[in-house]
């Protein structure tokens, strides 16, 4: 058992026992080899099941919303988890004092099938948690990704027809299970636009147009808030290249409206809810 796992169990148990937190969110081992699954400890005894290794693929911060009425919630956070927490605080889903964060520097997660670094972790710029109450283990030196927007650049370099083919194929195979939405820490709407058929945003038909409407508009809705965790793409059962879309939007915002990284703080000026009189003028 790794040191981090031991410390994590000890700290989570201690926090639950002294009443600091009402629940703790981490990971436990799954049924299969190298498989992990989110664990929500509601009882101090549950903390013995906690583990931390390089196969903890889930970003778990979103569970705080379900649990917050129980009291203060403890969460094991890596870089991406902590940014998700910040993001949800900024979106007024809960307050910083509603969570107690055990920070864990992330060794980068691996794909359990291939044993190689997960796609979503490959261009991670913040492996250390950006906010925490306690840090377990040593903070590591961050390495900036070679190209933050590599996923988008793979596509944006292609010609129009090729890009269209990629995305048509993707939206064609989308089954509208909404896993990308449900796993996303930015998707905190009570009622998603897709569930409002009476407004007429989109129909329930499964076809390219409706799926593209869903895919594009969901991406646009989170565009200035996306924390680039890549959970949507990992969760997608149909392997849609969702990060190629999100990264494109994030890149455009950064280029046009100034550099930012969502979720690094709780008072970011989101690009689409602010403006500058000196913004580039291309519609003259």
């Amino acid at each position: 058992m790794s040191d981090i796992t031991t410390t994590l169990r000890e700290r989570a148990r201690a926090l639950m026992e002294d009443g600091t937190i009402a629940a703790f969110i981490g990971w436990e081992a799954g049924r299969f080899e190298r498989q992990t699954t989110p664990l929500i400890c509601l009882d101090a005894a549950d903390t013995d099941r906690l583990i931390f290794d390089e196969y903890c693929v889930n970003t778990t911060a979103k569970y705080v919303r379900d649990l917050k009425q129980r009291g203060r919630i403890g969460v094991a956070v890596r870089g991406c988890d902590s940014r998700a927490i910040n993001r949800m605080i900024e979106d007024n889903q809960f307050k910083r004092e509603d969570v107690y964060l055990l920070g864990i520097p992330c060794p980068q997660m691996n794909d359990r099938k291939t044993g190689t670094v997960l796609n979503k972790c490959q261009d991670c710029a913040h492996r250390n948690p950006v906010t925490y109450d306690e840090l377990l283990g040593e903070a590591m030196e961050e390495t900036a990704p070679q190209d933050r927007y590599a996923r988008a650049h793979l596509v944006s370099g292609l010609d129009r027809i090729a890009r269209q083919n990629i995305f048509n194929m993707a939206f064609e195979r989308c089954i509208r299970c909404y896993a990308c939405r449900d796993v996303c820490p930015c998707c905190t709407c009570r009622t998603c636009f897709v569930d409002q058929r009476n407004v007429g945003w989109l129909g329930k038909q499964d076809n390219l147009s409706e799926n593209r409407f869903y895919g594009m508009i969901r991406a646009f809705h989170i565009s200035d808030r996306c924390i680039e965790c890549g959970e949507c793409e990992r969760a997608c059962p149909m392997d849609l290249p969702l990060m190629a879309i999100n990264k494109k939007l994030v890149e455009d915002m950064n280029t046009l409206f100034g550099e930012y990284e969502s979720g690094m703080t709780t008072d970011n000026e989101d690009a689409l809810r602010s403006f500058s009189k000196t913004d580039l003028e291309e519609f003259e």
Partner: protein, 174 residues
């Protein structure tokens, strides 16, 4: 009743269908002025009046493009002149991003644009409509280029009236 463009099915008869969202205070008034001055511009454009370009949800744009408009134009006040002081600044950011996004997933750049046209710029309105219409005409019907997947019901719409079988009597009675 209308199947989409019943009579405009062949290539040469195709006329672009263009929707423009126009801010009530600037562009809509500018278009009114163009009328007052009896300016001439292509009849393909239909204006949809909104209070402010800030009201134009990119979702409307995508809806229009996917449901059968060949081009969509959004027009508002020049930045700084917004009747509501800031609406067009937000619109600008949203639509700058959305335009790039549309092109990224494969839409021709000619099909979507944003223009600032004040209430006094009737000539600019006319020129914009002309240019935009020509641009859309050049790239042709959107149905083919943006791959509008037929909705499952597409082949049914209009089919009943065409066949005009007595079966409809039964249907009516049922």
């Amino acid at each position: 009743m209308p199947v989409v463009d019943e009579k405009k099915t062949t290539e040469e008869e195709w006329e672009p269908r263009i929707l423009a969202f126009a801010c009530n205070w600037c562009t809509y008034a500018g278009a009114d002025l163009a009328g007052l001055n009896r300016m001439k511009y292509p009849a393909n454009i239909r204006l949809l009046r909104v209070p402010c370009s800030g009201r134009v949800n990119p979702q409307y744009v995508l809806e229009a493009l996917q449901k059968g408009c060949d081009g969509v134009l959004v027009c508002g006040c020049h930045p700084g002149d917004c009747h509501y002081s800031t609406g067009n600044y937000y619109a600008k950011r949203r639509l700058m991003i959305f335009k790039r996004f549309l092109e990224y997933v494969g839409l021709e750049p000619e099909r979507f644009n944003v223009k600032w046209i004040s209430a006094s710029e009737a000539g600019r309105f006319r020129d914009t409509v002309k240019e935009f219409t020509e641009g859309v005409r050049k790239v042709g019907p959107l149905k083919e280029s943006f791959t509008l997947a037929p909705s499952a019901g597409d082949k049914l719409f209009g089919a009943h009236n065409e066949s005009e079988a007595p079966a409809s009597e039964e249907g009516g009675a049922a």
